[in-house]
C-alpha cells in the first residue's frame, strides 16, 4: 500500500519566530491590522510504501524525529491518506 503524508512543522510556541514577526508587522501596512501572531513553518509532503496505515505512520514519525523536525525548536503533526 502507498500513502501520502502531509506534514506540518512549526517553530515551538515559546520561541520567537522572526520571520513570522516581520510578516505580522507588514500586515499593518496592508491595512490588515486585525491580523496578528503570524507564525511560519514548513509543509512537507511525501509518499511512503507500507503494509498498513499504522506502519506508514510509524515510518513518517521516524523520518520526522530523525531528520525533518528538530524537536528542540520545532514540533510536527501529519495526516496520512492512502493513494
Amino acid at each position: 500500500m502507498k500513502f501520502k503524508a502531509d506534514i506540518d512543522i512549526m517553530p515551538l510556541e515559546a520561541l520567537l519566530d522572526p520571520q513570522g514577526k516581520a510578516v505580522s508587522k507588514s500586515m499593518d501596512n496592508l491595512g490588515l491590522d486585525v491580523i496578528s501572531n503570524v507564525r511560519i513553518g514548513k509543509h512537507i509532503t511525501l509518499q511512503v510504501s507500507a503494509k498498513s496505515k499504522e506502519d506508514a505512520a510509524e515510518k513518517v514519525s521516524q523520518a520526522c524525529d530523525k531528520l525533518l523536525c528538530n524537536k528542540i525548536m520545532e514540533s510536527y503533526k501529519f495526516d496520512l491518506k492512502e493513494v
Binding site: Q19, L67, M73
Partner: protein, 230 residues
C-alpha cells in the same frame, strides 16, 4: 597534531581553516571529503563554516547524515577532539554532539561583522589559555546563530564550565546590548561535558593572519595546541 578539515557540499571556510592550521600553526592537515568513510588517523576533526547542503531543511541538518559524520561521531565519543565553526557548530548541534540548537537571528538579518568575545571556560582546552578578562575581536557571518537550549541544559552548561565564549563589548562586559543575534545568555560557543567537542559561531580562522589586520583568532587555536602539547 594531525587535523582533518571536512568539506561538505557547500562548505566555504574549509580552505581558510586549512591555511591557518598548516601555514600559521605548522600543523599536519588533511582535507577530508564528506563521503570518506575514514578520518585517516586524525587527532582533531574540524567542521568548517559555510552552507552545507545549501542550508536546506535546517542549517546542518542534512550534513549530519554524511557518511564521514559516523566516523566523526565515534571519534568524539572516544574522546577525540572535534571543532565546529559556524555551520560546523550547527552540524554538531544537529548531530547531538553538542546540546541545544541555533535558530534564525532574532532580527531576521544575516550578520557579517566583527564582534567581541569573552572567553569563559577555564577548563576547556580551547579557552583555557586565553585571557579571561579581555575581549577578543572575531568576525561572525551567519543568519542562524541564535543559540537556544532549555533551562536544564543552560544550567548544566553553566555548572559544568562548558560555555566557551559569550558576546561582550570591547571592555569584556557581557550585556544584551552586545548580543548580536539574540542568543540565550549571550552564548557564542560551547563544548560538551567531556570538553572534547567544541562549537562556536564566530570565525577564528578569519582573524588569524596579520595581513587581515587581526590575529585574535590565532590565540584561540594556540590555546588548544598549548594545552595538548603541554
Amino acid at each position: 597534531m594531525k587535523f582533518g578539515v571536512v568539506t561538505f557540499p557547500g562548505s566555504n571556510c574549509n580552505q581558510d581553516m586549512v591555511y591557518v592550521l598548516k601555514e600559521k600553526l605548522n600543523q599536519e592537515v588533511v582535507e577530508l571529503w564528506h563521503k570518506n568513510t575514514s578520518i585517516e588517523g586524525c587527532d582533531a576533526i574540524v567542521l568548517p563554516g559555510g552552507f552545507s547542503y545549501g542550508d536546506y531543511l535546517r542549517s546542518g541538518a542534512i550534513a549530519r547524515f554524511s557518511p564521514l559524520m559516523k566516523e566523526v561521531i565515534s571519534h568524539a565519543q572516544n574522546g577525540g577532539i572535534v571543532i565546529g565553526v559556524c555551520n560546523g557548530f550547527q552540524i554538531l548541534c544537529e548531530s547531538g554532539l553538542l546540546p541545544g540548537a541555533l535558530l534564525h537571528n532574532n532580527n531576521q538579518k544575516f550578520i557579517c561583522k566583527n564582534v567581541w568575545l569573552k572567553a569563559e571556560s577555564k577548563t576547556a582546552r580551547l579557552t583555557k589559555n586565553l585571557h579571561h578578562d579581555k575581549a577578543y575581536k572575531i568576525p561572525i557571518a551567519h543568519g542562524e546563530g541564535r543559540y537556544f537550549a532549555n533551562e536544564n541544559i543552560l544550567k548544566d552548561l553553566n555548572d559544568n564550565d562548558q560555555i566557551l565564549f559569550r558576546y561582550c563589548n570591547e571592555a569584556a562586559e557581557v550585556s544584551q546590548d552586545c548580543n548580536p543575534n539574540g542568543s540565550q545568555e549571550n552564548i557564542a560557543g560551547i563544548c560538551n561535558k567531556n570538553k572534547n567537542v567544541f562549537g562556536m559561531m564566530p570565525h577564528p580562522e578569519r582573524a588569524a593572519d596579520i595581513s587581515l589586520g587581526n590575529t585574535d583568532g590565532l590565540s584561540i587555536f594556540e590555546s588548544l595546541l598549548n594545552t595538548i602539547t603541554a
